[in-house]
């Protein structure tokens, strides 16, 4: 069979299609996407500008045509036969492939309580339209889950003068991905903006008038949004017998347990040098894995190595995190005019950095720290803490050494 088929036209699948051409791959490339639009960016969905839901295409239709990528829009793959090397499409067609990329992303985790079907999800452009069509000043929205998506949505809705309640099972907000210092600061900012938090509470039921909490209290709401995280979309992979766990398992080259099938982005759990598999849910990871997978499908044998990085915008604050901060790390704080940076050292080695400040003002420091992390530097904590020491100087002296 001829050519490469990519399942999923999100951030990862779309980037992979172009990256195949950039890597010199000349045979047919088919990009199959279930959603009825040109491939689009998800991050702007929770950061609407001027009150409008943004549709930000990843690429123009002409760019797909110019690259010779056949894009099957609004078409889903219903079956993968890894032995025959074919995929069955929702329109009845069957496509053969030489190599396949699974870039199926993730889908919202569903609540299990009575009335769960009343809660809206927040993953797609259609979800965003459904949410924003239903909000107006003075309306009450209950958001279930104080993760990044729930908190970004809360910030946007406060900007529209909507009454917002956030319900979270854990005793703290943003528990999973954000270091405590910045989670606390964001929590305080949301509280100052008028968001009402109900922490350490679970949802017992969702009724017509609102949310019933585990303590019996009722939160009146005109709209309920569920933002309790995502699960990797691996239905096809599981049904076709590929190895899966918390994601489609791949080796360090992003190859699944079938040698001609690769996986990238939110759906992929990638083997780590120290053992185990890690799955990321972030924009840059989706693109970087796509690029590595594409080059490998075109004949290279690169291992995927990249410092994980993501950002989140809430109100006028920008959060950026590179690496994976852990509670056991030694922390060093740097306070600047624009905000705060926290560095994370593991046995003296810089392994992660996080920053929270006005807009994008801390971005360049995070980027430099990321370069220091990639270079396995052991900086002096005093130099990291001192805002008078330019991180660029540390990088240059490390490179010269």
């Amino acid at each position: 069979m001829d050519g490469i088929v990519i399942i999923g036209a999100g951030e990862s699948g779309t980037r992979a299609a172009f990256a195949l051409r950039e890597a010199g791959y000349r045979r047919p490339v088919t990009l199959v996407g279930a959603e009825p639009h040109l491939p689009y960016e998800r991050p702007p969905l929770s950061k609407p500008v001027g009150g409008m839901v943004q549709m930000t295409p990843i690429c123009a239709r002409e760019a797909l045509e110019a690259a010779g990528i056949s894009y099957l829009e609004g078409c889903s793959v219903s079956k993968l036969d890894a032995v025959a090397a074919t995929v069955s499409l929702s329109d009845g067609r069957v496509l053969g492939y030489e190599k396949l990329l699974l870039a199926t992303g993730a889908r919202p985790r569903r609540l299990a309580c009575p009335g769960a079907e009343r809660a809206l999800d927040f993953r797609t452009h259609a979800d965003a339209e459904a949410i924003f069509a239903n909000v107006a000043p003075g309306r009450r929205v209950a958001i279930i889950g104080a993760g990044l998506i729930g908190m970004e949505l809360a910030a946007v809705l406060r900007g529209k003068d909507v009454a917002v309640s956030v319900i979270e099972t854990a005793p703290k907000v943003l528990g999973r991905a954000v270091p405590a210092r910045f989670a606390d600061k964001l929590h305080a900012r949301h509280a100052a903006e008028g968001v009402r938090f109900h922490l350490d509470r679970t949802v017992a039921a969702i009724g017509e008038d609102g949310v019933v909490l585990s303590d019996g209290s009722i939160l009146p709401a005109d709209l309920v949004v569920s933002a309790i995280g995502v699960v990797p979309e691996m239905t096809l992979a599981e049904a076709s017998g590929l190895a899966t766990a918390n994601g489609i398992l791949t080796d360090a080259c992003l190859r699944t347990s079938a040698p001609n099938i690769f996986a990238a982005g939110d759906c992929a759990a990638v083997a780590q040098p120290g053992g185990g598999h890690i799955r990321h849910e972030s924009w840059r990871n989706a693109r970087m894995q796509a690029e590595t997978a594409a080059r490998n499908m075109a004949g290279a044998a690169e291992t995927f190595a990249s410092v994980p990085w993501f950002w989140s915008d809430q109100y006028d604050l920008g959060l950026q995190i590179a690496g994976r901060p852990q509670p056991a790390h030694q922390t060093v704080l740097r306070t600047t005019a624009e905000g705060e940076l926290e560095f994370y050292l593991d046995d003296g080695r810089l392994v992660a950095v996080a920053g929270l400040g006005f807009g994008n003002s801390l971005a360049k420091h995070i980027k430099l720290a990321e370069m220091l992390i990639a270079a396995s530097i052991r900086p002096e904590p005093a130099a990291l803490a001192d805002p008078g020491v330019n991180l660029k100087t540390l990088l240059k002296s490390a490179r010269a050494a």
Binding site: R284, S361, A363, K364, K367, L368, K392
Partner: protein, 103 residues
Amino acid sequence: MTWITAGKLEDIEQEGAIRFDHGGRTYAIYRGPDDSVYCTAGLCTHEAIHLADGLVIDFEVECPKHSGAFDYRTGEALRLPACENLKTYPAEVVDGEVRVALG
């Protein structure tokens, strides 16, 4: 060509950039590692993000949002997701003052 004074050279870090707003538009002014100065449109061509917040290394500025990169001498887009070049404007230093020609 009308030259406008945009600030003092000493106010821009070496291998750094500042934002300069003029006539309802926004620009970025760069000071290279050799103290040469350059001026480009202030917003990234991918999404409208101020490039002066980005990291400058050598003659390259990296966008603070998605790491697109540009050569600020020519405006050339060097790295995805930025693919459209930046507009550039003449810039010079006279007696320690940075002047730009935005016409």
